[in-house]
């Protein structure tokens, strides 16, 4: 059950006292606070049993699971393999998956983290009050830790922190890319990982075994489970639509009545800067990520003389899955037949999906908005206004934004008292993106030095961009990914302003009905559901909340009708949508021009859009933003058009084909055009700035 508007506001308000909130954070790298890796480790266990299974016994439990036995039996009788051979195969799979923790390795790794961390970070900040709240609630329920995922450091950090706070280190679902790294695979396993393949399709045995392993972890094992609900590291630092696969595997035992409840803990991990930053940027532009290799990892370590600022970790309030599902959870329904013979219904999967969204929501609420997020935002806004920023103006701007974000309910790292220091320090850390070229000069984008000499053309995900486009793209995408974390807070209000702008325009500035606004927003939400992780069931709640916030910010005057008054706050909020509006518009244009009456696949479209933008960049065209080159953006546009049937999707054996619905798409194009025309910004200024660099 999603929270009602009332208690939602309360929980946000409760934390409006940011000063108090941020002061709960303790830097655990500080002398005297770092975990003593040699201490006796007697962690609090999430569950107590009469007898605790060893990791090997856990594998045996899974192997003996009747469903697995059934499958092995039928495999042996339906194929040429003998029972012995299939059993062996199953055991190999279990060994590939299974936990095998080693405390000595954990201690050693922890010491490394402290040492390296102290060198490259200015601190790992943990919200102590909240982690202790979680620890106090543990003891008799399976627990799922679901952290946001922005960096591989998430893996390491969680275990380190658990060790520090005497919480049992959870089993961490890790991708096979680590498994295949020499040495790394077994290292991570020893520090708590278990492995999962990315694609289960085609291998029934693997899938079934993994599923049962997950069940056994939840039902029979005494440690928590950690996995990333977003499925992968979000390359663009925006929240990703939650994946339900692992979550439903983990929750199945609750539906089947095998555990009384499951405690779900959203964990928010925020970074001033992640190690993978530039990798992500090039990946977003279509240069594929190098296959994880130990060598690559070591090379990455060399980079470690850079500064990465702070990391923040906050454990959200544990969600009782049972309470969340409320009366929708019908366990009696499943009590008639042995659990292993059952599957969840579509409705139940939908419930789990809602919980997934809730978790992402809760993660986002606690992701710290860093000073650089606000700097990037404010800089970008000023590009649209075609104004330059001195340090002083920048600091002022950051404070204006801090004010707005405080009101929206975000946790902002920047402090008014030390704003100058905060800003300078941030720019120092991100000097590869923004800098003040000389003392007293204005803030500028950095012209990136990129070598893409070893790019393998065959593995390119999109179009092979020319150097000019690439440079432009790298610098703007680097900037944009730091604006993106703000989107969680501003996309809702911004979309509302966009709708109001249009309504106001249609009524020549007069007030309009609330319902009209609501209808427009529903329409926009449908288009941007994937981009901004909008779930239908929260729509009304968000509508009310945003309306209220905007009225506090004096953007809306609410009587029986609504009057929209444009002010600077409105413009600031609105500016955040520009890259997305441009991108969606360009994707539509490309489809209509290139693929109007033929089938196309995803790659065709990625290449076509990138080509189009590349060609347009030199010509100071309308409604182009270099962020349109980001493949993630194009993909989510396509996903949105498919979901809303502007484009039809046809899944074939090994390829997915698309075909556009021309008349529908045309009307969407016109809609977007109207929105774009109303924006009070000079959108193509970016291209100009870069070309001057």
């Amino acid at each position: 059950m999603p929270p009602t508007p009332k208690n939602y506001r309360n929980s946000v308000e409760a934390e409006l006292n940011h000063h108090a909130y941020m002061s709960n954070y303790q830097n655990i790298l500080e002398q005297g606070h770092a975990p003593v890796m040699t201490k006796e480790y007697k962690p609090k266990l999430p569950r107590t049993f009469d007898k605790y299974l060893t990791p090997d016994e856990l594998k045996t439990v899974v192997f003996n699971n009747p469903r697995i036995q059934l499958l092995l039996e039928s495999m042996a009788s339906n194929s040429k393999q003998t029972r012995k051979e299939v059993d062996k195969k199953a055991k190999e799979i279990l060994n590939e998956i299974g936990l095998a923790r080693n405390l000595a390795m954990i201690r050693w790794a922890g010491m490394c983290i402290t040492t390296i961390g102290r060198r490259i970070l200015s601190g790992v900040y943990v919200n102590e009050a909240n982690i202790i709240r979680v620890r106090d609630k543990m003891g008799n329920l399976p627990i799922l830790y679901l952290p946001s995922h922005r960096s591989y450091c998430d893996f390491i950090l969680m275990s380190y922190i658990c060790f520090k706070y005497d919480i049992e280190i959870p089993g961490i679902a890790a991708g096979m890319d680590f498994y295949s790294m020499v040495g790394m695979g077994s290292f991570l396993r020893k520090t708590g990982a278990f492995y999962m393949r990315r694609s289960f399709s085609g291998d029934d045995l693997y899938w079934e075994i993994f599923r049962e392993y997950m069940h056994a972890l939840v039902i029979d094992y005494h440690i928590g489970i950690e996995f990333f609900i977003e499925g992968t590291r979000s390359r663009n630092f925006k929240a990703l639509v939650p994946k339900v696969g692992l979550l439903s595997m983990a929750l199945e035992p609750l539906f089947m009545g095998q555990v009384p409840d499951i405690m779900v803990v959203p964990v928010s991990v925020s970074y001033d800067k992640v190690l993978e930053e530039q990798l992500f940027v090039t990946e977003l532009l279509g240069v594929p990520k190098p296959k994880e290799s130990t060598k690559g990892f070591l090379r990455a370590l060399k980079k470690l003389d850079q500064k990465f600022g702070r990391m923040y970790v906050d454990f959200g309030e544990p969600i009782s899955a049972k309470n969340f599902f409320g009366s929708n959870l019908d366990r009696i329904r499943h009590s008639n037949v042995a659990p292993y013979l059952q599957k969840l219904s579509k409705n139940e999967i939908a419930l789990i999906k809602e919980l997934g969204f809730e978790v992402v929501q809760k993660q986002q609420e606690r992701i710290v908005i860093t000073t650089f997020n606000l700097i990037a935002y404010f800089y970008s806004y000023n590009v649209f206004l075609n104004t330059r920023l001195s340090l002083e103006q920048l600091c002022n701007g950051v404070l204006i934004l801090k004010n707005i974000f405080d009101r929206l309910g975000a946790h902002v790292a920047a402090k008014e008292k030390s704003i100058n220091m905060d800003v300078i320090e941030s720019i120092e850390i991100h000097s590869n993106i923004l800098h003040f070229p000389t003392a007293g000069s204005n803030l500028e984008l950095v012209r990136p030095t990129i070598q893409l000499n070893d790019v393998n053309l065959k593995t390119l995900k999109g179009h092979y961009l020319n150097a000019h486009a690439m440079q432009l793209a790298v610098s703007t995408v680097s900037l944009q990914i730091y604006i993106n974390p703000c989107m969680f807070w501003v996309s809702g209000p911004a979309l509302m302003i966009l709708a109001a702008l249009k309504l106001s325009n249609e009524t020549s500035g007069k007030a309009f009905q609330k319902d009209e606004l609501r209808l427009r927003i529903i329409e926009l939400n449908e288009i941007f559901a994937v981009e901004f992780v909008i779930i239908k069931s929260r729509e009304e709640l968000e509508f009310i909340r945003n309306l209220e916030t905007l009225s506090q910010l004096r953007v809306m005057q609410i009587s029986d009708k609504i009057l929209f008054t444009r002010n600077e706050t409105a413009d600031i909020l609105l500016s955040s949508l520009v890259p997305f509006l441009c991108c969606y518009f360009q994707v539509i244009e490309t489809i209509l021009e290139k693929c109007a009456d033929q089938d196309f696949n995803e790659k065709d479209l990625l290449v076509a859009v990138q080509q189009r933008i590349e060609a347009a960049l030199t010509a100071r065209p309308k409604y182009i933003h270099p962020y349109c080159l980001s493949l993630d953006n194009i993909k989510s546009a396509l996903a949105s058009f498919t979901q809303n049937s502007f484009v039809q999707q046809e899944k074939k054996a090994n390829a997915t084909k698309y075909r556009c619905h021309q008349t529908k798409l045309l009307s969407l194009r016109n809609n977007f055009l109207q929105y774009l025309q109303l924006l009070p910004f000079t959108i193509n200024e970016y291209c100009y700035i870069i070309s001057k660099l």
Partner: protein
Amino acid sequence: MATNLSSGSVVDGSLSKEVKSVIPRNRQDVLKWYGWGYKNAKFSFKNNSITFEGDQYTLGGQTLPHFTKWVEDQFDFKLSDIERYPNIPQEFPEPKRNVPFLESLQSTGILFSDKGEDRLVRCHGQTLHDIYTLWENSYERIPDLVIWPKNHNNVVNIVKLANEHNVVLIPYGGGTSVSGSITCPQNEPRMIAIVDTSQMNKMLWLDKQNLTVCFESGIIGQDLERELQKLGLTVGHEPDSYEFSTLGGWVATRASGMKKNVYGNIEDIVVRVKMVTTKGVLERECSAPRVSCGPDLNHVILGSEGTLGIVTEVVLKVRPLPPVKRYGSLIFPDFESGVKFMREVARRRCQPASVRLMDNEQFRFGQSLKPVSSWFHSAIEKAKQAYVTKIKGYDLSMACAATLLFEGEAEDIQRQESVIYEIAKKYKGFPAGGTNGERGYILTFVIAYIRDFALNHQIVAESFETSVPWDRCALLCRNVKYKVKSECERRHIKNFLISCRVTQTYDAGCCVYFYFAFKYVGIKDPVGTYEAIENAARDEILACGGSLSHHHGVGKIRSKWYPKTVSETGVGLYKAAKNELDPKNIFAAGNLIPNEHDHHTKAKL
């Protein structure tokens, strides 16, 4: 209301197993349309001897000279090789068409047929009356449509549409009913659709930990057992009709299997059952072994004889296949000693999987079914007969036999055997070997073919059964035989056979099974006559403390006694349930409650 209709199944469909049945959808391709069993299996008279054909059975291809003699002696006539089996009709009563129903049904994609032959072969069960009417081609009313649902959801759809359009539905399993329960009601003005369950025969799941299995209701006994035995398991429910009768039929009639002592009767084996009614799905929502939750509604479904809804899925207990199976037989000087033996076995609760006691007529009849074999073997048989008469001094015209089937672990069987033989000794019984016992059980499935052969030679034959408290068992057998004899004499029927056996034992009583046959040459209305005599016998049974039925059910032919058996209050309760679950009476097979308007049993012959 029907909440579980919408919630759908929780079971992972990928675990279900399609079962290839020995009986095709077009059942007449493999089964006799005019009688019992496989098309190719039958008794016939050739070269002066009766032979049995049918490669499905061990007796197949054997010549039976003793049996030939037994028939000729018993009914006092000479067999001829003329065969009078009927030809399948080419014309059929026009089907009634409820057009809106047919149109909606069409749109569901569920398979159906209104071909005459499909309708005819499903208009009847296996009572003498059913078969005789077929031979005479005198059905006035046959079903108008045959529908083949493929799963529970199909059935839900069918029932919904039928209820909307007021179409009568008759659930049809194996058509082996011997109570008239499946026989098409002759005076039904509405369209009648047969819901043939044969295409819903999947094994939905198997739970080895709890030893339970879930099948769709249309699976026939032999398919069910074959599939489970492949996995080293058995349900162990073996009614004599189990080659052709279905799980749904067993539930709907409260069937009883030969090996109930080990595995239980159907009501002991069923854990859960799902029935689609016009008001929704009735199902006990719990798999726990026993519950105290008000009257057990499973028992509303069990024995409902197709009048309340359609059984779609059934969860059954399974058992590990017994490692050892052994037969035995006993001979007693007379029937009453045999009954005392049976009573003692029941008192000591030491029944093997099956123990059956045959009276003298059946004992001799069984002996006669021994095939000819080498002279050496027949010499031994002769010697054995001599031994039996001479050495023990038993009068062969009095002696009776019991057959035994043991199943279980070797040590357990050994123990059981010694107890049984010890008890037998007390009642002057002595062991007569495993082969005799085994033949008794093998013949079980062959005996049903005799009826068609008999009819061809103008002998009508039928069985009827009852259950009775121990103290009245011997008395009931005696009185019923007396009653049948005197009824025959009254009607100048000279050549007849009345015989009985005790087929099941319980703590408080037993099941008695009668065979009755007579040669009807010179009798105008043989079936009417047969039924009149059987009715007289049933009155006698009831008077002797016997029940209306131990396992065949009430159906139409015994419905006139139903009110007496369950009391008027009971009838009221049944009617209230019927009214609740099926207010429009679309499940109008007309079983259990006597139907004033339907004179099926008096249909023109």
